[in-house]
């Protein structure tokens, strides 16, 4: 119980900060005001990238021992990206606990540490949108398109951008 109170205090604090001082590139709120562990964020497609102009919705779910363990981030808007699973889950190294990767595939310093906040996580997701990592793709098809059929890739991303605008 102690940890979950610590988690909710910290999340409340971050929510207050973000409402008071919004950060460029995204907006954040709760899915349901009674549950501090489920956040709804809208990420604006970063300018000068294929995702420019899109408004992508995602849900962040925090574990009760946050910030010792990382939250998960899942796009609810349609998304075509090498590091986003077909079901919308985001796969980036800072969302992986250091113990998760026994093969040393990702450097420990690039993985989750409790100093990360909602803001730093969403900024990482935005930077992932502008520079996909096709070395260890979550969506293999998208990674193939990104590597070999860039036109195809662009077309699919534009479709996602358009759809996200229509949903507004």
């Amino acid at each position: 119980m102690a940890t979950s109170t610590q988690a909710s205090l910290l999340l409340h604090k971050q929510l207050k900060d973000l409402t008071r001082h919004p950060v460029d590139g995204f907006s954040a709120g709760l899915v349901d005001d009674s549950n501090i562990f489920e956040w709804s964020v809208t990420i604006i497609g970063p300018p000068d990238t294929l995702y420019d102009g899109g408004f992508f919705n995602a849900i962040m779910s925090f574990p009760s021992n946050y910030p010792c363990s990382p939250p998960t981030v899942r796009f609810t808007s349609e998304m075509w990206h090498p590091n986003v699973y077909p079901d919308g889950r985001v796969c980036i190294s800072i969302l992986h606990a250091p113990g998760d990767d026994p093969n040393g595939y990702e450097l420990a310093s690039e993985r989750w540490t409790p100093v990360h906040t909602v803001e730093s996580i969403v900024l990482s997701v935005i930077s992932m949108l502008s520079s996909p990592n096709d070395e260890s793709p979550a969506n293999v098809e998208a990674a193939k398109d990104w590597r070999d059929k860039r036109d195809e890739f662009k077309k699919k991303v534009s479709r996602c951008v358009r759809k996200s605008q229509e949903m507004l």
Binding site: T3, Q6, L9, L10, K13, N65, P67, C68, S69, I94, A97, P98, G99, A108, S109, E110, T113, P114, V115, H116
Partner: protein
């Protein structure tokens, strides 16, 4: 004290292994050198020279010693020394080399930045500091930083961070400052201050395990539930070690001891045993054995003219499996095999049946070796149990019955220990035999000859120790008969030991004697064979074999 030092010097000069004997030596003033020599030679453990069995306490002690040494030499704290050592796989010499070659690089790679003083310098003027995790403000005494001294976190966020990492596993040994840009290590002192006793214990357990698991000279005993580890001195002969838990294993491959067979053969054999059932079916369905060397061949393309791979090189027809030489009477008709077609028409030839038979031969060869391998293991297990029962009950019965002291009955235990050891060796010679190439005819014959002799000897010994002894246990026998039995069993034990020593030696040098023999200078070879090998009737095993073999091949002509 002076006299003590003198004694030490004296023994050092004579290069005797001191250490354990200090107490006895210092007990009396009359220092008799000869007496001590006898004492030492009887006390040196026979085969424990090249390895040491370590209990958990021993491991901790070694770890502590290494850490203290490094801490003294490099003038750093013990916890830092332990971080450095873990990073160098606990090799003190490697750490010294690296450290004196490039101290900064070593420090950086393990996260010991700059000088060793985890002090919160830069916050001295501030009254309150914000924790980087929960963003609350705390007075200085409620926050801490790792070795970096730059990234403050509060006393409630640190424990959460550390214990999550400890729960995740041994990765906690390389724990760094939570700030992603910072490499500073979180050391054991800090951990001990911040987390629960349970987590502390787990951390120190991981540290202990890392000392064994990352160490090139120490391995855990593989027996289930055993907590000892064995420290092995590299390059000091046989890999066979015996743990304090009574399990004997090969330190190199951590399988049970398997002299005289090499580790690779053991791996192959074990893998074969586990994979056999699935493979057999596939082999049966998809391959034919070479008609000459019986190795399975899968034909995946090409014509029916097959040539077996080196060293067999036998040429045959895939369809009828007959020799290609006899096969091609008329050129141009190879492809459709006449013999095969005719035989099939006549109904003589059932290809499926024939294929099955071939595969069966192959399988039978494997089963032959496997059954004997497994039977010897079973027999060894039973011998182990018998020995236990012997020690627990029967020896005592015999002491009463023949009014002999227990020391006089040691020959029985010795016989059983010999049986157990020989069963193990014999068992592994069957794996050896399976992999001995079919075409090395002379080697095979020699191998089977030595194995046969050793096996026959062992069977005699086993029978004597099992059945004959039973008579003395169950029925009334005169004492002189028991003395006779003692003489016989002792003799058999000795003879069997010699047989097996010779067998092990012959297999361990790859049956090299027959190479010399096949070149044609067998008589001179016999004198160089096995320096310590005992002779029986003035001839070595090999000489007896060579004569038998000569005789056998003579009689063929």
């Amino acid at each position: 004290m002076d006299s003590e030092d003198d004694i030490h010097d004296a023994t050092d000069l004579d290069s005797l292994d001191g250490g354990d004997f200090d107490d006895e030596r210092n007990s009396g003033d009359d220092y008799d050198f000869e007496e001590e020599l006898v004492e030492i030679s009887s006390k040196i453990p026979q085969q424990q020279q090249h390895y040491t069995v370590l209990s958990e306490a021993d491991i901790r002690q070694l770890q502590e010693d290494d850490t203290t040494e490094v801490s003294n030499v490099l003038s750093i704290s013990k916890v830092f020394a332990s971080i450095l050592l873990r990073n160098c796989n606990w090799s003190v010499s490697k750490l010294h080399d690296d450290w004196f070659a490039d101290q900064d690089r070593v420090r950086k790679s393990v996260g010991l930045l700059g000088l060793d003083r985890p002090v919160v310098d830069q916050f001295q003027n501030a009254r309150e500091v914000v924790c980087g995790i929960c963003f609350e403000s705390y007075p200085l005494n409620q926050i801490k930083t790792a070795a970096c001294g730059y990234h403050p976190f509060c006393n409630s966020c640190w424990p959460g961070y550390i214990s999550t990492s400890i729960t995740d596993g041994p990765g906690c040994l390389t724990l760094r400052c939570p700030d992603p840009s910072c490499d500073a290590a979180v050391d054991q002192d800090m951990i001990n201050v911040l987390v629960s006793d349970e987590d502390k214990d787990r951390y120190s357990q991981y540290l202990l395990r890392s000392y064994v698991e990352n160490n090139r000279t120490i391995k855990w005993c593989p027996a289930p539930g055993c907590e000892y580890a064995v420290n092995f001195v590299m390059g000091a002969g046989s890999y066979d070690v015996a743990c304090n838990c009574t399990y004997s294993f090969c330190w190199n491959c951590t399988e049970e001891t398997h002299r005289p067979v090499e580790c690779e053969t053991v791996q192959k054999w074990i893998q074969k045993n586990s994979a056999e059932s699935e493979n057999t079916n596939w082999i049966l369905a998809n391959s034919k054995p070479c008609p000459k060397c019986k190795r399975p061949i899968e034909k995946n393309s090409g014509c029916m003219h097959m040539t077996c791979s080196d060293p067999c090189r036998f040429q045959f027809c895939w369809l009828c499996l007959g020799s290609w030489k006899e096969h091609c009477s008329r050129p141009g008709q190879y492809y459709a095999c006449n013999r095969y077609e005719t035989a099939k028409q006549q109904g003589v030839y059932d290809e499926y049946e024939r294929r099955r038979k071939m595969a069966k031969n192959l399988l039978e060869r494997y089963s032959h070796y496997y059954e004997r391998w497994a039977a010897n293991e079973k027999s060894r297990q039973k011998a182990v149990n018998d020995l236990q029962q012997m020690k627990a009950e029967n020896i005592e019965k015999l002491t009463v019955k023949f009014s002999m002291p227990e020391s006089q009955l040691k020959f029985i235990t010795e016989a059983w220990l010999q049986i157990i050891e020989c069963r193990l060796v014999l068992k592994w010679t069957y794996a050896y035999g399976y992999y001995l190439p079919e075409h090395e005819q002379i080697k095979r014959v020699y191998f089977e000859f030595s194995q046969g002799e050793a096996e026959a000897g062992l069977e005699r010994l086993h029978l004597c120790a099992e059945k004959e002894l039973l008579e003395y246990l169950t029925s009334e026998q005169p004492t002189f008969a028991f003395h006779d039995f003692k003489r016989r069993l002792t003799g058999l034990t000795r003879v069997t030991r010699t047989f097996f020593e010779n067998l092990v030696k012959a297999l361990e040098n790859g049956l090299a004697d027959v190479d010399v023999y096949s070149v044609g200078c067998s008589r001179s070879a016999s004198s160089s064979y096995g320096g310590g090998g005992k002779k029986k009737g003035g001839r070595t095993v090999y000489e007896r074999f060579a004569e038998d073999y000569d005789y056998a091949s003579d009689s063929e002509f």
